[in-house]
Symmetry: C3
């Protein structure tokens, strides 16, 4: 840090299982990727190339190389997996992961319907090739699960081999763990946390209010995802109680 402030919450160093920040890159240029790494690389644990943007990204190989040289793992968004699966191209997908040297992959069913047993088999199978992150929750605002169902799905996916499970929110933060209005479904989150270890969950929290909410509920070192590149530094200050939103909250904890 650039100077010393007393009583700042502690952040574990990378690699870490708690307090990590997953960032969504939806089309940075190579230079913008370098800029992002310069500013926020040390605060970023993993980068997702949003949904299937990797299909149309003109600089994919070079971008992956940049992230690799910065020691930041990268994976393709789950929608890409779904796009391959729904076309009966799952084997092609595995070859694509291989071709690009991917070490992580996401398995989700946000846009398609997969029997959950089948999804778990896919998690198990793909885990032999890469570290799997799986996502629970639909992108469809009408598909709302009860808390016990979220827990059941998350448990089964972790057992099948998921390294972490992601609680779906979309880029706009308005489905899954959120109400249409963008508010967090608080009871749902509380109940999930009684059954699933928090270090196994990444909460998608693209909006500042959502980040603040999770940090106040779970603490500085909650795992948050779908953070925009330019918001990583601001998020770091929110985690540390150094932005108005959490300033009071951490002061009161220290007292």
């Amino acid at each position: 840090m650039n100077y010393t402030l007393n009583n700042i919450p502690e952040r574990p160093s990378k690699p870490r299982s708690n307090g990590f920040t997953m960032v969504m890159d939806k089309g940075l240029s190579l230079r913008q990727t370098e800029d992002f790494i310069e500013v926020a690389g040390s605060y970023t644990d993993i980068v997702k190339l949003g949904w299937a943007t990797s299909y149309v990204t003109p600089n994919l190989k070079e971008k992956l190389a940049l992230y690799k040289s910065a020691g930041i793992p990268v994976y393709f968004g789950g929608t890409l997996f779904e796009a391959f699966l729904v076309r009966n191209q799952y084997e092609d997908y595995k070859r694509v992961l291989d071709k690009f040297g991917m070490e992580f992959a996401e398995i989700s069913d946000g846009s398609i319907t997969i029997e959950h047993e089948e999804k778990c088999k896919l998690i198990s199978d793909l885990s032999k090739q890469v570290t799997v992150i799986s996502e629970v929750g639909s992108k469809d605002a009408k598909k709302i699960f009860a808390p016990y169902k979220w827990i059941q799905l998350m448990k089964a996916e972790i057992e099948a081999g998921s390294w972490k499970v992601i609680a779906e929110a979309r880029e706009g933060g308005n489905v899954g763990i959120y109400r249409d209005s963008g508010e967090v479904r608080e009871g749902l989150v509380d109940e999930i946390l009684t059954q699933i270890p928090e270090e196994r969950i990444i909460w998608e929290a693209p909006l500042k209010e959502q980040q603040v909410w999770f940090i106040k509920l779970i603490g500085t070192n909650v795992n948050l995802g779908n953070i925009a590149p330019a918001e990583v530094l601001p998020l770091e200050t929110i985690r540390l109680g150094l932005r108005g939103d959490t300033f009071d909250y951490f002061l009161n904890q220290v007292k």
Copy 2:
């Protein structure tokens, strides 16, 4: 593309009269312009320097040169035309277009009132110098036209020499073809399409929901405008059914 996915909707190659994307640059630096071209140049058909930003842009000549070398046509926003016209400097405007080597120009009446016959004369006159894009619809949320009026205006402007007509939305997407809330005036769009060939219209659709709406109504290759530079790659995935918003829609079409 970086890998092969079956059953992806086809995109015509540039230059194209359908499926094109008009991007709004409201002040990119030269390096940011290069970055934009790197990432999204091949998906961008034309760039508008928003409203009269060209007046205060410090790097105008160099920026125009960058776009030119990338083969992307550029034009000044219609508000600039209006700023000249309302000051009785229309002849100056033509000289400015000439001085900067512009090959396209926009004629609009979003902020001022021009008799429509006069507007058509201006379109006709300016068409002798450059390719004219004209815009229909007011920036004033209170000025709402009936559908027959939109059609009448568009037809007359095309006859007068407009290459394409733009359906006004503003950067915020809340006037013209949109309601205050940002929702599309669906009946209006349907009715316009019964009379005006879709390849002659550019729908301003700055918000993702609006892009999705038009793509579902008109298809992958609808002409969309006022796209932010960082949203061109995301838009391309929406056009291809590779983002959650249109994933289902295109799958159902293929079936």
Copy 3:
């Protein structure tokens, strides 16, 4: 300017006490800082490194050097001052300002409670070291002052040594001089202006609608703050009546 338009409102040249634009940098990379300076440097009067982002910014010294070489003063957001003060590290704060060669500093009480007499003493004390900007208004949406109170506070802070006072709005523009909805508290602003010279006030106006509102109320050369780097050029056109929002307004003034 790139061409001549008649009847454009006049802007004083820098350094100026009216019409200045305070920009919030919440984590630009060095290259992005250069890009910002290229595009908007000549329209920017001062830059704030938002709240305590300077704590986690990896490129702080180099960034300060870039702004310095462009002749743009910089200061750390008031939340940083509060973070030091609340930890009984005020003397450390002064050393930090010194270490980084800061010539400006902000004193605020947006997140903590300071007796106003004490705040004025701090303003007076810090004024011996740097030029002080002080901020009035809480980040807490529930703490609403009556107009006479705003005036009293502003007057006392100016007397204590504040170069300018900032009317608080937060990055989201929803507290202080704004209602929850983001609307300006018009009566409040009018009343403040009867007692405090407008050149001594910076109105935080992060949202376009707010910028437009203040420009229509106070004129082209109102002092505005918390402007996002990419919005400085657009703001300049709004000040000049060259964007739809203020096009009519300035035309009617010229007539």
